[in-house]
Symmetry: C2
Subunit: 150 residues, 2 copies
C-alpha cells in the first residue's frame, strides 16, 4: 500500500514544513578524522535556511564538526525522510547571539542558555533529499551545491 | 510530562523487543577514510544478537563499513532510542547463505535476494545504549565491549 510518489514541489513544501515543526529532532551524523562515525539525536531549529543545533562544546559532535566542517542530517521517520548534507557555517556560544538564541528557543522545546558549555552549530545545507518509500528515490534531490532545484 | 526513568532491566527488555520488531528500520551512520559522514535508513533484522542489513555492494555504506569495519546505528524514534556501536563481522552475498537470507526475510518487509548486487552486512554490537528523555541519560549503557551489563 505505497502512496503515489509526490512531485518535487510538494516534497519541497513538505520538507520546509517538517524543518519548521516545533520541538522536532534531527539525527546528526559526523565523523572523526580517523573515520569513526558518530550519530546523535538533538533538537533542531530552522533559522534563515540554516539548521541550528545546540550541543556541548566538548561533545563528540562538536569536535567532529569543528574539525571536518561537515555533517549529514536526517529529519523525520525512516519512511518520510529529509536527508541533508551540510557544512559548518559558524559555531556560536549560546549566550553570545541573542537573536539566534531567541530563534532557537522559539522552535526547540528547551533552552540551552540555561546550562553552561553549550554552543550553537549553524549548519548550511548543500544537498537536500526527501523521500518516503522506494518509489520516491527517483527525484529525491531537492537542493544541490547549496541551491534549490525546485 | 516526562515519564519516570526505566530501570536497566526494563530498558534491555524494551531494546530486545524493539530490535525484533517486524519491518523495523535502522539508521546506519558510517564514515569514509577521509572523515566524510554518511547516514541512511535501511531495514533491520536481528539475528543471533547481530544486526543484519542488506545494502548494494557498491553503496557508500557498504564501502565505508568494509573499509573501516565499524558503524553506529540508531533504532527507534529520537525520543525512544537504541544506539548501537557495531563492528563488521562479515559481508555475505545475499544469495550465498540460505539460513541468513531466510532469517532476514522473516523480519524485514522486502527480499533483497530478488535484486542483484546486494550484500548482507552482519554487524556485531559492541556498545548498546537506550534512552527516552534526558532523565534516562544516566544508566543508558546496556552493553559495553560486547558484553551485556544487565
Amino acid at each position: 500500500m505505497t502512496a503515489e510518489a509526490r512531485d518535487r514541489e510538494t516534497r519541497k513544501a513538505d520538507t520546509l514544513a517538517m524543518l519548521g515543526t516545533p520541538a522536532i529532532d534531527v539525527w546528526v551524523a559526523t565523523a572523526s578524522a580517523t573515520g569513526a562515525p558518530h550519530l546523535v539525536p538533538v533538537s533542531l531549529a530552522w533559522v534563515d535556511e540554516r539548521v541550528v543545533i545546540a550541543v556541548e562544546a566538548t561533545s563528540v559532535t562538536a569536535r567532529n564538526v569543528t574539525a571536518s566542517g561537515q555533517a549529514r542530517l536526517a529529519v523525520g521517520p525512516t519512511r518520510d525522510v529529509v536527508m541533508i548534507d551540510a557544512v559548518l557555517e559558524e559555531t556560536v556560544d549560546v549566550a553570545a547571539d541573542d537573536a539566534l538564541g531567541a530563534a532557537y528557543v522559539a522552535q526547540a522545546d528547551w533552552d540551552p542558555r540555561r546550562d553552561t558549555g553549550y554552543v550553537f552549530l549553524v549548519l548550511r545545507p548543500v544537498q537536500v533529499q526527501a523521500w518516503r518509500e522506494a518509489n520516491e528515490i527517483a527525484g529525491r534531490t531537492l537542493m544541490r551545491d547549496g541551491s534549490w532545484l525546485v
